[in-house]
């Protein structure tokens, strides 16, 4: 289908034809009156000169985001569930009607959280150039005049605030958070969670409204129609049927770049960000993460892996092991106290598990220690409904955590005493920063819930 509007329109300094009468909704006189007000640039269509902008180009970026952003949204919501909202330990705890469907976060596969959260953060980073390109491609709409021509457009533009504001806010807060820049001053989790729902609202409505336009634009002349042009062949797309709100330049400059170069540039930008991010989750590629705080190595020893909270920050002194005794509660026979020698004397189990942070980084280690289910049996609660783990740390937000039954009973869930690399190298006692005398490590559990410096475990029966 070709539009018949303004055939042969040249780059001459003419004012574009006013929108046809049918383009206006109620109250017609108001919108039409607005449209008649002479406006300076950037509110005139002639401000926008790039011959590359058009519905096809926008749709190419759109289809990438249509696949990418739902993945980021879903993995983000999964992370909320992985934190255990049923115990009030997901943040924000009270989410009213926007409660997610609850299920027990699984312990298998052990790399589940590593994957979902690595995707959430990694894909979020990689999509930054695509989001910026998409916004560049539609910027003429932001300054279109008259700003709206119907109540429908007015509402749609308000919803775009949720869409554009939502994605930018989520990207900014997420990107700052994983780099330890908390200068926004509010609680990250709370803002990122509610911001996500605002964005989801805008995103779903935008997809519902624009999907037909996207499909139509991509199918016009075949999906690759505009990829074949060299810079010399590059001409604007045919004008779309939105006079005054068109993406296609009414007076285009000569092209300085072909569409395939532009798309290649955006893809290259994403690839560059991806190469510099992948090392935060793939141990062997860590040196590539040149600009990420988690690209740094602590060394090559068994304890040389990423620390989220140092003993110093947690207020744990080097004397924490003196007179240490783990307290197990919940059984009818009262408390059971185990010093570190008693723990080391119990059957030891070894498991190779990743530790994966909400910030997206993860690292593989081999852990050895006592199975949590053996401790539960010893406490006299062999089938607990959950377990409340307390750290010797007093103040931190993650000084205590509740584990689900499946997380206590998994054969690889440990109260780890020793740690080693994944190459079968020698193992060593946990260092103070990694939770000496003992820490929890549970498959697929978010990093901060693998409590360090464990002081007590309360195995709860129904």
């Amino acid at each position: 289908m070709t539009t018949t509007g303004a055939p042969g329109r040249s780059g001459a300094p003419e004012t574009p034809a006013p929108p046809p009468e049918s383009a206006y909704g109620f109250p017609r006189a108001l919108w039409r009156g607005l449209g008649r007000i002479p406006v300076p640039p950037p509110l005139t269509p002639r401000t926008w000169r790039s011959p590359l902008r058009g519905p096809w180009l926008t749709s190419v970026f759109g289809v990438v985001l249509l696949v990418g952003l739902p993945s980021v949204i879903l993995t983000g919501l999964l992370s909320y569930i992985a934190y255990g909202p049923q115990f009030g330990q997901a943040i924000p705890a009270d989410v009213g009607y926007l409660r997610l469907p609850l299920f027990d976060w699984p312990t298998s596969p052990s790399w589940l959280y590593r994957l979902t959260q690595g995707l959430h953060v990694g894909l979020g980073f990689v999509l930054v150039p695509v989001v910026l390109a998409k916004l560049w491609s539609v910027v003429p709409k932001l300054f279109a005049w008259p700003p709206v021509r119907s109540i429908a457009q007015l509402l749609e533009r308000i919803s775009l605030l949720a869409l554009v504001g939502g994605i930018l806010f989520e990207l900014v807060t997420g990107i700052m958070n994983v780099q330890y820049d908390y200068s926004f001053g509010f609680d990250f989790y709370t803002a990122h969670y509610w911001g996500a729902w605002v964005f989801i609202g805008g995103f779903v409505a935008h997809v519902a409204i624009k999907l037909p336009t996207m499909v139509r634009s991509l199918r016009t002349g075949g999906p690759g129609r505009w990829l074949h042009d060299t810079v010399e062949d590059t001409v604007p797309e045919p004008p779309d049927d939105e006079p005054g709100h068109s993406l296609v330049a009414t007076s285009p400059s000569p092209p300085t770049m072909s569409r395939r170069t532009l798309i290649g540039t955006v893809a290259g930008g994403s690839a560059l960000v991806g190469v510099l991010t992948i090392g935060t989750t793939v141990d062997a590629l860590r040196p590539l993460a040149l600009l990420s705080p988690r690209g740094r190595s602590y060394g090559t020893g068994p304890n040389d892996f990423q620390v989220n909270r140092t003993a110093f920050a947690a207020g744990i002194g080097p004397g924490v092991g003196d007179g240490y005794a783990l307290v197990l509660r919940g059984g009818a026979g009262g408390e059971v106290r185990l010093d570190r020698a008693a723990l080391a004397g119990m059957p030891q189990h070894t498991a190779t598990l990743p530790i994966a942070c909400v910030e997206g980084w993860s690292q593989m280690r081999t852990w050895s220690g006592v199975r949590l289910r053996d401790l539960a049996a010893l406490a006299g609660v062999p089938a607990p409904v959950n377990a409340f783990v307390q750290s010797l740390e007093r103040a931190g937000p993650f000084a205590r955590t509740t584990l689900q039954a499946n997380q206590v009973l998994d054969p690889d869930s440990l109260l780890a005493l020793r740690v080693g690399d994944t190459d079968g190298g020698p193992m060593a006692d946990l260092s103070l920063d990694h939770g000496f005398p003992a820490r929890v490590i549970v498959p697929a559990l978010p990093g901060v819930h693998n409590t360090k410096w464990v002081g007590a475990i309360d195995f709860r029966s129904a």
Partner: protein, 163 residues
């Protein structure tokens, strides 16, 4: 249905999708209102939009104009034909460098260094500004090599066509 379209401007499903959007976003905003930082969060939300649409975008669009201006000047001062347009060999490494600088701004600027040292035990011994500049240099070097190759190929093509 004609009257609805004439009055509202779109079909009823359009309105339905937007009402769903406002209901969801509205619920999220209402849930956030009791938070003592709600206003500050809203300020950041607005600042993210304004920061992109009215600051970042105009800045990079204006910066790009300088390349167009340079091209115009080049064609004014020299009658020698342009063999390979240089603009994109400048644009691409600049864009790459700016994207890296934007995405890793908190690390490069040292905004997270104190917290990182305290929480992760990683002292601020890495010069991230230098790393960013080095990456920028690599991008420009790659672009220069690509430009040289393109120039060479164009010269070869020209000589062959002259024969």
């Amino acid at each position: 249905m004609g009257w609805f379209r004439r009055t509202y401007g779109e079909n009823p499903l359009h309105l339905l999708a937007l009402l769903a959007c406002f209901a969801l976003a509205g619920a999220a905003v209402l849930a956030l209102v009791p938070n003592p930082n709600a206003l500050w969060i809203a300020v950041w939300f607005a600042a993210a939009v304004i920061g992109h649409d009215l600051v970042l975008y105009p800045l990079y669009a204006l910066a790009d104009r300088s390349l167009v201006l340079a091209r115009w000047v080049r064609r004014r001062v020299s009658s020698r034909p342009v063999r390979v347009a240089a603009a994109n060999y400048v644009r691409l490494p600049v864009l790459g460098s700016l994207v890296l600088g934007l995405v890793w701004y908190p690390t490069i600027s040292g905004g997270g260094a104190d917290v990182l040292a305290f929480a992760a035990g990683l002292p601020p011994t890495v010069d991230y500004v230098a790393r960013w500049l080095l990456l920028t240099a690599v991008l420009f070097l790659a672009s220069a090599v690509a430009y040289a190759v393109a120039l060479g190929r164009s010269a070869v093509r020209e000589r062959n066509s002259r024969r």
